[in-house]
Structure formats: C-alpha cells, structure tokens
Point group: C2
Chain length 329, copies 2
C-alpha cells in the first residue's frame, strides 16, 4: 500500500515528537520538515526526509499528502493555517479558544478554494476532551461537565514565572485538587472556580543573590496566572532542576454527571482521563491520526475546514472499516 506522505511545518517540541510518531506508524512517511530558519541549522532524524524553507513549500504540492502544522497558535497558525490550506490537506492544534470560529472560517475559505481538507484544533484539549464533552452532553442533556487539567506542565505558566526578575529557570505544574475530583466523581456537581479545582506548583532556579521571598511573592500575586490559585513555590538547584524537571508529563480528566429518568432519577457518570508521560508525543500522535483522516476524507471527495466534531472516526485508523467493525465494535 502506498504510504501517506507527511510534511511537518515547524520543528519545535510537537514537530520533533511528530517525527517519532511517523517512525512508529507503518502507513505514513515523512517527506520534509519546513522551517523559517536556515535549513542547515536543523538536524532531523529521518535520513530520507529533507529540511526545506517555508518559501519552497509550493514545490511539494504533488509530493506531500498532508501538512501537519506544528507552529504556535498565537501568531503563527492564523497565517500558516490559511496559507498552507491553499495548497495542502492540513492538520493543526490551534488552541486560542476565543478565536476558533474566526480561524475556522478563514481556513475554510482556503480549503474550499483548493479542494483540500483542513482539520483544525486537534490534540487533547482542544481535541479528544472536546469530543468527550460534546458526546457526553448530547447523551446526558440534564447534567454538568467538569474538566480538570494535570498533573502536568503548563508552558504558559512556566514562561510567566521565567519572566520574573531573578528567575533563571522555572517550571510550573498544574495539579487537580483531589478532594474536588472526588466530590464530582461521587455525583456531586459543585460550582468550582478553576482555582478551587487546581493548585499550581512551581520549581524555580534563581540567580545568585536573588531575593527569594520577593520572587515568591511576585509569582503568587501575578494576576490571571497565579493570584486566584493556591500556589506553591520551591527553590531548587540547577542540578535538581535538570535531573527531575526536564520531562513534559501532562494529563487531565473530563467528567460528566447526568440525571436520567422521570420521577425516580438516576445518576450516570461518564469519565475520560489521560495520564501522559510525554505531552508533545501524545499530542503529535493525535495529530498524526487526524492527518491520516484529512487525507482519506479528501480522497473520499470531501473538502473544507473541519473540526473533531465533523470527522467519522474510522478515518483515523490505517485499518479498513470492515476490519474495525469486526474487531473493535
């Protein structure tokens, strides 16, 4: 069987992890990594693939079946998503929540014109968690959905801590509060703020002679990021930081408690959870499954921008629909 030919746009954490996911799947192959940097600066692990400048992407129109966009949501994807959809099937993990409808429309315009399929906002949240929230609400309309994130590294919060003067290195873990999870699992639907559901734990390496108590209070009082949360700050050595805090674990859970019945009501609980040793490797594994779907949906005659709500899931698998029905239904 002909392999699905993949291009990776952007070679950061997700792009690199995607390369390993491609190596682990026999129905796909990496053709090229596209970069804004000078290609000679980038060393990839796939000998048969090339490193190419963004500006040369058009030359690959007939050699790449799906481009997986692994650049940032804030400034990159609003441009890259729209541009690449003019030439390729694409998948991305656009996660600036408030701007998803606008982004979807813009990408759709490109993809309708090119006759390609672009699947946006893929990963685990937005992504698999969104799927579970949507299905659970449709199945149990009379209910409440709760989402928890962690235990895991938040890049945004880690960046915020690193910007505090005197901080040399820092990592921030978001951690669900057990007692809140337990109340919800038991069928209660308390109204909890994000800060009542999660605590934040920071591990900080500071500059020599830095004022630790000042750093700690600056972190804890940071609006939006920390002020509304129980925050723990630990100062550690650089050695300890490198040894214990170089991984990118994450995870989380979605729980919906719903009531069914008339008169005598029954509680029904749906729970979906992820425990990830590597967040980028998992996210890129989801992206790869949806890259397969984008290609196959396009082969089946579809076009335009899609979300996880629009994709029949059998397109995610390299196995045939018949085999999936026989083995997994």
């Amino acid at each position: 069987m002909k392999k699905i030919r993949i291009g990776i746009v952007g070679y950061g954490n997700i792009g690199k992890a995607l390369e390993t996911a491609i190596k682990n799947s026999s129905d796909v192959e990496l053709v090229a990594v596209f970069t804004r940097r000078s290609p000679s600066e980038i060393k990839i692990k796939t000998e048969t693939a090339k490193v190419v400048k963004f500006s040369q992407a058009e030359k690959y129109k007939d050699n790449i079946d799906v481009m997986v966009l692994c650049t940032g949501s804030a400034k990159d994807l609003p441009v890259h998503g729209v541009e690449f959809a003019k030439m390729f099937n694409t998948v991305d993990s656009f996660d600036t929540h408030a701007k998803i409808p606008e982004y979807l429309n813009n990408v759709d315009e490109s993809a309708q014109a090119s006759g390609k399929v672009s699947i946006i906002s893929i990963g685990w949240d937005p992504g698999l968690f969104s799927m579970i929230r949507m299905i659970s609400e449709a199945v149990l309309p009379n209910g409440v959905t709760h989402t928890f994130w962690g235990k895991g590294v938040s890049q945004g919060h880690s960046d915020a801590v690193r910007k505090v003067p005197g901080v040399k290195k820092a990592i921030q873990y978001t951690i669900p509060i057990d007692s809140a999870v337990d109340r919800i699992r038991s069928g209660e639907n308390p109204k909890l703020s994000a800060g009542e559901k999660h605590l934040r734990e920071c591990f900080v390496v500071c500059d020599e002679n830095a004022d630790k108590s000042k750093i700690e209070s600056q972190i804890k009082s940071m609006p939006n990021y920390f002020a509304d949360y129980e925050t723990k700050v630990h100062f550690i050595s650089e050695e300890e930081f490198e040894m214990n805090h170089s991984k990118m674990p994450h995870g989380g859970l979605v729980i919906r408690n719903g009531l069914t019945g008339v008169g005598k009501l029954h509680n029904q609980t749906i729970e979906f959870s992820l425990k990830l040793e590597s967040n980028p490797e998992f996210t890129s594994s989801v992206l790869l499954a949806y890259a397969r779907a984008a290609y196959r949906m396009n082969m089946a005659g579809m076009k335009g921008a899609k979300t996880i709500f629009d994709v029949p899931i059998y397109y995610l698998s390299p196995r045939s629909r018949e085999e999936l029905i026989k083995d997994l239904l």
Copy 2:
C-alpha cells in the same frame, strides 16, 4: 423548531427507558410505541402517543422520522432491523458480536433501497466503548487495550442462574477485580483472561426446601457462564431481594496503555469509564442521541447502514455545529 418524531419498537426495559429519555429532551417527541402484543395490554406514559401493532407500522411512514428498535438481538433484530429499514431511519443496539458484519450488510441492503439511514449496534458496549477502543488504537498504535465490565447486572448470567432447578429469583453482578485494574492503570499490560479480570456475585432466592449446596455447585460449575470465574453465591430472602436488588446498575472501563517515542519510550494511558445507576436509561439515552443523528444524516442526504465509527459526532446534539464549536471545542 419542528421536533424529531420518534417511534419505539418494543416496550421492554430499553423501550420504557427510552420513553423517559424522550420526555427529557425538548427536540424530540414520541409518536407511537409498536408492539407484537395486543396494544390494549400496554400502558405507556406519554398521553399524546399511541400504541400500535407491528403490522400497522407502514401507515406511519410519513409521521415518524426515526424508529428506535428496542427488541432483542438474538432473534428479533435480525428480522426487525432489516424490515424497519425498508421504511424508516432506524437505530438499534444489536449486540451479537460475531454476527455484526452480516447484520450490517443485511440492514444496509434495506436502507440503500429505501434511501434511509440505519445506525446499528448503539449503546455503550457495543457503542461508546467501541468508539474509545477504536480511537485509542489509532492514536496509540503501539499499545494494548483492556475492557472491564461492571460493577453491574448481567441479564444473560442472571437468566442462567434462574434456570437452575430450585432457584426462584436470582440476579448476577459482574465485578471488575480491583487488583487487575490497578496493574493496568499503572502501565502494566498483563495478559489476563476474562476470569482473571472479573468476579461474579450471585444473589439467589430459592424454593422452600431446595438443596442450597447443590444449587451453589450447579451455578459455580456452569460452563462458559461461571466455571472460569471466581463466583460468589449468596442465598437471601425474597424481601431482601426485592429491597436491594431491583435496580439495574452497570458500568465499566476501557483502558489503553500505549508507548510513544523512539529510543526513550513514554507510557501514555487513555481511560474511559462509566458508572451507571440505571443501565437501560443510559443505553436508551445513547440510542436517542444516535436517533437524532440518523435523522439529521438522512436530511443531509446520506443513506445506508452505519456504525458508531461512521457518524460525525456533531449530529448527536440538538445544538448547531457553530454553537458546539464555540462552546465545547
């Protein structure tokens, strides 16, 4: 907005529970319950709906948008699924696993001819569990999926116990073995038989003067049903039986442990679980969401027999795609 008009075929546990699910959803209405019995024997709870003989179903072709087939998988659905798909969009919970491909083909023939949509094998297993098994495997190809059922009532096993001479009433609970679940959650992938994953607990009311030790040994040695499991048998009074064992709880979990990465591997765990106070009410809630999907897919021009792998999930919700993307993605 015009409500989706539903017909219920068969008024057992699932049919009755479906009636309550329809009452709890504002975008659907019950038109009629279809039965093989004499309609005068059946009292339904929806004043505006009728009870109608199977043979009169054809007269409702223009008044019902989706028929939800709530009859048995063993003998009823292989006939009903094929017959009703000749006239209506349908949804069913066909669960005779080995016969799903054949059933799908037969229903597809009817639905292709009538231009309707039939979604088969809907519920939670087959159903939502199948969906999670399929997605998890596609996302984490290098891994192992484990399914546990319970704690919950197995009708098949309860029936088997009731057939033992001297048994007056009986119920059987299937219970996941905690230590097996814990091993899998911790990332281990032991090869466990169904009997190493579940234990079986029976509550039995026996006839006066029945030989309890004989009944117990007959249950425990029953091939397929109990012989390969750790089975507990409790003899209780009829009062206790009515008081504590008249509900139909169920649940279960699907866990996939997968490895990602090259060289340095990372364990990734996906878990989906259900804790249901009423199995029939939850199953019928899933059926109702897919009934909505069958109707809307047909309105969108689709036809033929479908499975849970084929249905874009936004069709499950009464809310618009735009609203779902804005609120839940």
